[in-house]
Symmetry: C2
Subunit: 309 residues, 2 copies
């Protein structure tokens, strides 16, 4: 999971954290209201080499070291938003990491969660930590088998991540193979989606963990490296800039307006639409046109962490 | 994580399960005594295509679908032994899987845990499920941060697994690079080992999850593809058969008698010796000479799941 500017896949893991409501006796009282404002500093400029470290946290405060466009970060942000945890977001410039950051995370990766002098890392572990810490807002179910099912689903759905970035990085020669692999993964996900959500009737752990990757794939849907189609120009103003990206491949066989495509992936298409409208998702995500622009830059080796700020 | 006979790495995930003590009102009462006999049928012949399915389980009974030499299986067996859970072990022939097994695990992999009509899969998820199910014998700590630390450690230690199998599969050309990568991983593990165990003063989740891979590496320590050294012949009678494996590489730069080597890896060497003597380890493991023989066969594409039976 390198953080260099060469790969678009697995490039980083980050989050936006949230300050915590405190009661007089230091017990935690999380809000159950999802609110974007609970992620304080989501769009702060990323700190880079030479920038001073942020102030020490007070007991009970949460801080997340993040990067605005990182899907692993987004996993945690969604979860924090869902649980109504207030947290300070500190964005890290992953190309020029501040020296002090290696004291927070020995490998300098994001996301990392700081709380009461402890650091928790890894985008799928931070959510489980938050659920253990605040069981009253646990997203993971209480029932042991249902908990296990959510973890198994995440494991089963995770091969999709590699397939998404395979398509992002596809060359004209291997695009067909990469798209075929992607469709194998989509078909698997479709078959695993027994109810409205992977979590059942509500969005759950597995939904939140995998959504950021669907979100990124959706931005590439219908797009070809050779030409921009009708949908490309219609959906996001950003696509007016598509000419810049000639020679790159996209997920041509997916539908942008109807992602990933109701006919072939009826349940997944409905799932994606449902997920998009959840307040914990909108609280955590960057505007699609911004994310698209970032991703196209990243593919070209120019990762602008402060894009649009 | 394919199960074909071609790769030695990640080849399967299995377990040995255990029957459960039942009280009159169906509450679970696990024994806290580690006992090899709680793993019923550990050394049963593997079931293959054409063999009938085992009988349906009664409520409250545990069954683990396993393979005797699989390190992922061993993770679960160790955990079951540690928690004193009685379980029936059903070994699966991974080259010729019985048709009925695909109803238990859609991909036909091991381990899979069956209990009260539910199936739980994945070698790191089954232990967490068992801890959730039987919190009174939880190996994962109660404290949320300590729990997270165990999960993070497992994540950090897991790159070691690929390095081990890299060494097993090394060719004369890339052996040096593969051994260097292995030593990088060993040095990382050494630095992460702050106390006697990765779990602190006691063996914990991360210890149990990673131990099976050290165990397998230890069997190759000091061994060279070009010649068998003093240690090779001394430690295991099996090594008298080493001539068979000429051309294969081993982890020449590690010490067999003092694995992985007290001078370079003081803490890890002590850790390995401590782990070896734990009753939950001895309950779960195959005799070293048997495992070595299996591994050498596996490398050559001949996986004998029923070796020695």
């Amino acid at each position: 999971m390198g953080l260099s500017g060469v790969r678009i896949g697995y490039f980083s893991r980050s989050w936006r954290l949230q300050l915590y409501f405190f009661t007089a006796n230091f017990s935690l009282r999380p809000s159950t209201m999802v609110s974007a404002s609970s992620l304080i500093g989501v769009d702060s400029r990323s700190l880079k080499k030479g920038d001073p470290a942020p102030d020490d946290l007070r007991p009970g405060q949460f801080r997340i070291y993040s990067m605005r466009f990182c899907p692993f970060a987004e996993r945690a942000l969604i979860y924090l938003a869902k649980k109504g945890i207030k947290a300070e977001v500190v964005n890290i410039n992953l190309s020029e990491k501040p020296d002090w950051y290696f004291k927070k995370h020995p490998e300098g990766k994001v996301p990392a969660l700081e709380y009461n002098g402890n650091i928790v890392v890894e985008s799928a572990i931070i959510p489980q930590y938050l659920d253990d810490l605040l069981p009253e807002t646990s997203v993971l179910p209480k029932d042991p088998y249902e908990r296990a099912k959510q973890r198994i689903l995440l494991e089963q759905l995770s091969s999709f991540i590699g397939a998404v970035y395979g398509v992002f990085r596809a060359t004209p020669e291997d695009r067909q193979a990469k798209e075929e692999r992607l469709h194998t993964e989509l078909a698997k996900a479709e078959s695993l989606l027994e109810k409205e959500y992977f979590g059942g009737d509500h969005a759950g752990f597995a939904d939140y963990m995998i959504y950021p990757f669907y979100e990124r794939l959706a931005l590439f849907a219908g797009q070809s490296g050779d030409h921009a189609g009708f949908a490309d120009y219609m959906i996001y103003p950003f696509y007016e800039r598509l000419a810049l990206f000639a020679g790159q491949s996209g997920a041509q066989s997916l539908h942008k307006e109807d992602f990933p495509g109701r006919q072939q992936y009826h349940r997944l298409t409905k799932w994606f639409r449902n997920m998009q409208s959840l307040p914990e998702i909108t609280a955590a995500q960057q505007p699609p046109e911004m994310l698209t622009q970032y991703l196209h830059g990243y593919i070209k080796g120019i990762a602008d962490y402060d894009l649009g700020l």
